[in-house]
């Protein structure tokens, strides 16, 4: 269970911090352009953080105590593959979930 103090700290500070990130140029800095190298790094933040977060979850799923798991691995591959081919987020989630439940049903 998540500690309520930690949870509320994150909810409030993440809200405030996200607003600050959205407001920083629009509200405070005005028309001054950012140096190109800063923009170049900002462009890759999401694509740099999210894969690092997800990779250990796929390789060492907590539900199996960290053992590589065929249905979960198959679901990950199908989700990623669908996303790469169709660029459709919802379709990828649906096919990934279908693979997971299909795999768990067949192998479980």
């Amino acid at each position: 269970m998540i500690d309520p103090v930690a949870l509320w700290t994150v909810i409030i500070l993440l809200g405030a911090g996200s607003f600050a990130l959205r407001f920083v140029f629009l509200g405070l800095i005005g028309d001054k352009p950012l140096p190109p190298w800063v923009l170049r790094h900002l462009r890759y933040t999401a694509v740099a953080v999210l894969p690092g977060l997800v990779a250990p979850l796929v390789i060492w799923p907590e539900a199996t105590g960290g053992a590589l798991d065929a249905p979960r691995m198959a679901a990950a591959v199908v989700t990623l593959g669908t996303g790469l081919l169709t660029r459709n987020v919802v379709l990828s989630i649906c096919l990934g979930a279908a693979t997971l439940y299909g795999g768990l049903y067949l192998l479980g």
Partner: protein, 241 residues
């Protein structure tokens, strides 16, 4: 165009925002389900969606908190996912910088992937729009999106409280993230960022305080920026040859 009325611009914005409903509803429902599965109350889940309105960051924070990561790590990692918002803010400043402080503050609050993507395109196509027309369009895009984000977070939270554990929801977060990541991999630079991030995160997985993720994020960003630089220089050379 001079003939465009504020009213017609408003409906243009609503129309452009509407297709995203198909993404927002399942995504916010899923967040509600995952958050309540992690132990959040319906009120806590809704508060998070209202204050943060950024799905990927919200999922990141929940995932790390659920695994007992230190509070500051959960916060910094989720904020790192949201760093792109600063880039959106910078890109819109030339168009909205002349609005009043209050208008800019509200625009900042509603600055999400969808409002940014639609607005930056339209503002570029319609350089003669007044500041009022730009603001009208921007907020109009948010109209079909943000209220549904809150509403379906609550619906998801209510559903989540009643789903039994046997549903393997542990994997809802990885699947959601993978589905979000795949469409981002548009260029060699994006691929490099993701690849370096994955390798670094796996190598540093045992590191205390989940620091591995932050280092992986930094390494990934630097990889993406470097590859972009290399590729743009190459494109320049080929352009001049």
């Amino acid at each position: 165009m001079a003939t465009e009325t504020t009213k017609s611009i408003f409906w243009q914005g609503v129309r452009d925002g509407a297709p995203f409903i198909l993404v927002i509803i399942p995504f916010s429902t899923l967040f509600g389900v995952v958050a309540t599965e992690a132990g959040l109350s319906v009120f806590e889940t809704l508060t998070m969606s209202v204050l943060v309105i950024a799905g990927a960051a919200q999922f990141t924070a929940i995932e790390l908190l659920r695994n007992d990561a230190p509070t500051v790590i959960a916060l910094v990692s989720a904020l790192a996912v949201n760093l792109r918002m600063a880039m959106y803010s910078a890109s819109l400043t030339p168009y909205l910088g002349k609005a009043t402080l209050g208008q800019r503050a509200w625009a900042a609050y509603f600055l999400v992937d969808q409002t940014f993507a639609c607005s930056v395109l339209k503002f570029d196509q319609n350089p003669d729009w007044t500041i009022g027309q730009r603001l009208t369009y921007f907020f109009a895009v948010a109209v079909p999106i943000c209220p549904l984000w809150y509403l379906f977070t609550v619906i998801g939270a209510l559903i989540g409280s009643s789903i039994p554990d046997s549903f393997a929801l542990d994997f809802a977060i990885p699947i959601t993230f993978l589905a979000l990541i795949a469409p981002m991999l548009r260029t060699r630079a994006h691929l490099a960022a993701a690849f370096v991030s994955v390798v670094t995160a796996l190598l540093l997985n045992g590191l205390v305080y989940n620091l591995g993720l932050l280092i992986a994020g930094l390494a990934g960003m630097m990889a993406g920026a470097q590859v972009e630089l290399i590729d743009s220089r190459r494109a320049d050379r080929e352009g001049n040859a």
